[in-house]
Subunit: 295 residues, 2 copies
């Protein structure tokens, strides 16, 4: 049980951790990778470095800085959030489940996403982003998972509890796990051209002109980025950004967000501010919670 | 003539300068001192430094960083802004006047200010913060300047164009200039107890119980901080903070503000974000201006 779980170890997440750890709250940072900074060589426009600083070094400085204030770091990929009965937040990772009073999503922005005609048209009309949420509706049906990563494997695992007609559509990408470990799965490695249907999704046409009909399609493409675990968890987004109020809280109580996943400017300088402000808001609430307990 | 003049060389100001310089705009930073960072030993909660960083080093790193992008630095104390006929902003310093298309106020927050009963009651009713603006109303009257710094001297100089009954009230502080250089000035070095009046200000009572009547009082206490030069320039403030819109623009077109002077959290992490965002907004406007000129 943590006071706060932060998702993401980049500037927004680590900055939030620094404030929370410094304020004495038990804080865990879950991360799957180093996000945008890991894909950047040098940063020269973040205040405080006369000479350009290697992005990897900045990332590592931030992690070490948060660790100095007793923030814990665990490598795991967050899949979904659930509210528990006692108002805590359960964070489901690929490896484990974690619980905290508050969550700050600082998961950055994955540029990699599935962009196929028809996808947006059938969201909620046979296309879903969460097997745990919607798998039940497709029991014993013919269902596709679009994906190729460990995250897709996680979704596939869930899906096989509901149906034996499971298809894994890699969209031409190399599988990152061994699909032959699973029975009842047909792998299609062709590139997807378009998702078609009428009122409801009907199937997928591939670039070679062939078609395959499905009752339902689950998107588990790339890693579990903010937009996918937000959709699963009922967190409101707009144009790929998480919507937050002036305190950086999402539409779900106790879940906050900071950094590139809320901010269109996507700069280190703005991410750290989001991190600091979300931490400040959470600290205020934690203090109020403690007062109420004492009463 | 500059594209942008930034007031203040702290995190907000230097961060704005870094963005503007990097975008190729002719940028000047005017500063009177190093602000809050200069009064701090170490910073340990600003993202990017695993070990606490000396505040003085952070300040210097930021200055050097901005200089790498050709931002100019000039030590001068800003007194007031004026809009010129061609829509540029004239920045009046104690030493010189400067002109720019845009201004970003990142002047931080001076904690030193005059706190005397009656002061707020008579603002605009005989109490003013700007001799240039209001000196004319008090020509040939008995007028006090409350102050002891070079900034007070600047105001005194202006006042002597209007009256020969000038009083300099140091409130017990040591004068930082030679008042005997000026004729027609009476120096009172007693501590001020209260400013009194009826509809209009009438005078000042000192802590020794003595009183002196005045027709008008000009406040020029301490240095020209944001609140004093804002009041002079018609920039709206509330509770000592400059009011800005979502683009960090003040109520005066082309004048923006960032950092501690707008933000109650007063952290380096929030100041750099303000700096980046104000610079971004100004860059957009400069680009639009250039397009319009070409047309």
């Amino acid at each position: 049980m943590y006071d706060v779980i932060i998702v993401g170890k980049g500037p927004a997440g680590a900055q939030a951790g620094i404030y929370l750890g410094r304020a004495g709250f038990k804080t865990l940072i879950l991360f799957k990778d180093g996000g945008s900074l890991e894909k950047t060589d040098y940063i020269e426009n973040y205040y405080g470095y006369a000479q350009p600083v290697e992005a990897a070094r900045l990332l590592e400085e931030g992690v070490q800085q948060a660790k100095r204030f007793n923030v814990e770091f665990v490598e795991d990929e967050v899949v979904m959030f659930l509210s528990s009965e006692d108002k805590n937040i359960i964070v489901k990772g690929l490896k484990e489940e974690y619980t905290a009073s508050y969550v700050i999503i600082a998961a950055g922005m994955t540029r990699k996403s599935l962009n196929v005609p028809g996808l947006k048209d059938y969201e909620g009309k046979g296309i879903s982003y969460c097997v745990t949420c919607d798998g039940f509706f497709f029991r014993n049906k013919k269902v596709a998972i679009v994906g190729y990563t460990r995250f897709a494997e996680h979704e596939l695992n869930d899906l096989l509890m509901f149906t034996k007609q499971a298809y894994l559509l890699t969209n031409g990408k190399a599988l990152e796990f061994n699909a032959s470990d699973y029975n009842d799965v047909t792998v299609i490695d062709k590139q997807i051209n378009v998702i078609y249907g009428e009122e409801h999704v009907k199937g997928i046409e591939f670039k070679d002109g062939s078609k395959e009909e499905f009752d339902g399609i689950f998107i588990a493409y790339g890693t579990a980025d903010a937009s996918s675990f937000c959709i699963k968890s009922g967190i409101a987004t707009e144009k790929g950004k998480i919507l937050v109020d002036e305190n950086k809280m999402t539409n779900i109580d106790r879940i906050y967000a900071a950094g590139d996943c809320i901010n269109s400017y996507m700069q280190v300088a703005t991410a750290v501010s989001d991190g600091a402000l979300s931490a400040r808001a959470v600290i205020e609430r934690l203090k109020a919670d403690r007062k109420n307990i004492k009463r």
